[in-house]
Symmetry: none
Subunit: 225 residues, 4 copies
């Protein structure tokens, strides 16, 4: 409440710092990222960074928060664009959108996966050591928690719509369909995006692969084969 929205100048600087943080995290990873570099790239002092973000972890969560926001924007737009079309088209568009999102914002996809691991192991009460306590207590961690389910719900709702309008024949639970689609997509992204921007892997055209993957998803939703 005291944050992002209240003061425009403040919000502006905050965003600049997050921009910078994204650059740094993306190029060297969290562990090797230096707060000094973040400050430098943002054109502010280290103290300023700490004024807005109490810890490095919190800054990381701020990036995660933004990732989720950006993803949501992507999703809302896609869903809106497909409002008139049958649900299956919307869902497939969402998948493509997600892939595009990951390709364009490589860091965001990593960050979100990190968050998931983090979140999961927190709930399990397992090895807290892995995740700094600071992280869990950070302001942005809570903010992220508040919106973490938005994308999932959006997508599942679209699947449900497809079921209703009959474009999706597959009768499995929407959640299961969601997981299947998500897993394929994450795997695809992980193999491609995470590492590089090569046009081929094992001499397979990335685009060819992507198209086939989409085709498979469509069939799954249509429950054909």
């Amino acid at each position: 409440m005291t944050n992002a929205q209240s003061n425009p100048r403040r919000s502006q600087k905050e965003n600049k710092i997050i921009d910078s943080a994204e650059e740094v995290f993306a190029s060297v990873g969290f562990a090797k990222a230096k707060m000094e570099d973040v400050a430098g790239k943002a054109g502010v002092s280290k103290g300023t960074v700490y004024f807005y973000f109490d810890t490095k972890e919190n800054l990381y969560m701020a990036v995660t928060y933004r990732a989720l926001q950006v993803l949501n924007d992507y999703l809302y737009r896609t869903i809106n664009d497909n409002r008139e079309k049958p649900g299956i088209e919307s869902v497939l568009s969402i998948v493509e959108t997600y892939i595009n999102f990951c390709e364009k914002h490589r860091l965001y996809s990593e960050v979100m996966l990190d968050y998931m691991s983090l979140n999961r192991s927190t709930r399990d009460g397992r090895d807290k050591s892995k995740l700094t306590t600071a992280l869990i207590e950070s302001l942005y961690y809570r903010r992220v928690q508040d919106i973490q389910n938005l994308p999932i719900n959006l997508i599942i709702d679209e699947i449900k719509r497809g079921r209703k309008d009959g474009s999706i024949k597959n009768s499995k639970r929407p959640e299961l369909l969601y997981l299947i689609a998500w897993a394929c997509t994450i795997g695809f992204v992980k193999l491609n995006v995470a590492g590089g921007q090569r046009q081929t892997l094992l001499n397979v055209e990335i685009n060819h692969w992507k198209e086939y993957q989409m085709e498979i998803l469509r069939r799954i939703l249509l429950d054909e084969n």
Copy 2:
């Protein structure tokens, strides 16, 4: 002489240290792992760890090397067990084996994914900063490079066998099929294993999910389009 195989006693201690390293890396991650803890858990002194593994990075690559070896063992065994069966069964078994491998050796799956990113970005000549130079120069990095393609080749060969014996109808290139299967599997594992060991995600039974995923894969392989 510097190798793990030459001297049994030496090899034994080397392995003990890698065991220990796995524990530590698994519980706190590479960045937060302390060489001292590795030494402690292995029951040796810090110096000894450095006697066998020159750097922390090299130790990490040693774990990666072992991960690949273990995976290979799994694969060989699976392939052998399915020698008499049609190729499609072998391939599907391999996928299951891979999932089991990841579930059982969570660290190994992470480590291998890390290696892939590393390897990819190295080739692309991108952000070397992200990956320590020490890593690329490490002895084990080269060792890993030598065997990195073994699993891929094994699997692709099985797909080819399935094509030959007619059990796999899908006429796409084996490499493409491999990538599709691999992506699904990695995504599945990433969503499940990476985070925790819960029995459900979004109230979906993991086993149910897995079975459906396997079914889809089978259909893909059987696809005659």
Copy 3:
């Protein structure tokens, strides 16, 4: 901005650290000097030392830089004091000044000799191993390079002046005379200063020795051959 001159407070602390470094280097030598001790003696933390001087080597070069500066001060003053006198007197005063300088600042003389070796072997491209790369890359190494020739030039100019005003009869090249004088002086200093502050060596009064050495130098300069 990183310079010693910009911020007075900053410059002050920087100097305090160099003071401290001199003490430590002087008493235990570079190799055994601990950065922590330097910090302690300067009344600051280890981190602060590294804030001002990135490496131990750079700190050493900072001392060298100061040594050259101090020597220059000595020389300027001596030359100025002898402005009205014939060149030969100036040159001989310079030699005495140099000896005094070395006696008073034993460390400085060692440090300067070290620098010479370093510099020489760098140019020759020989055994880089001996001299840390860090040393050559240090900020202060470059600074030192910028002023290393000042003393030499000052002295040679005075020799030339002596030649012009006829007080120095010796017709050899000023550079040669400089080297001769320098060698004698360095040797004298090395035998005396480097080791201790005893009043005799081989039962020879140091002062007696020094006077004779000066007398010889005078004769050389007066030499008309």
Copy 4:
């Protein structure tokens, strides 16, 4: 007594190690020299090095001891060669010999100077910290002490002979003459040898410089001008 002379095989290995130590010390200096490298270059194990030389310091003193021995050999030979000639010629030859010795065995000249500093500061009871206690207690340190004065005495004796046979006119104490000559020589060597093997310094031909230095020494001994 238990050493070098008793067992030929032993003595041989000992010498090989010292050979190796010389190489290593010469190329990287004492501080950076690693016992492992010494062992490696000598073709023996680290344990063996320690069998013969209890500490790194002792090994260094062994090199020093050898340096003195070699210098003595040079001196004896020179003196013998000049037995029939007037003392002044012998003394000047000795100086040349010493210069040659230093040029040929750069390490030896450094080592001997180091020893002097060490020895001096030990006697003065000053900063013991600088020199490891281990050094002073080392076997070879004592050995060196036993023969440290040999060269000095040899030279002074030759100066005395020159005085007696009338070839040296200078009536100063032989010790003083020795110191004067030694200082010049050490300075010359320090400026030349210590750093590199360039043919010129300040565009002065080294040979030219050396000849002039010798000429000056001759004049000093002749007390001419």
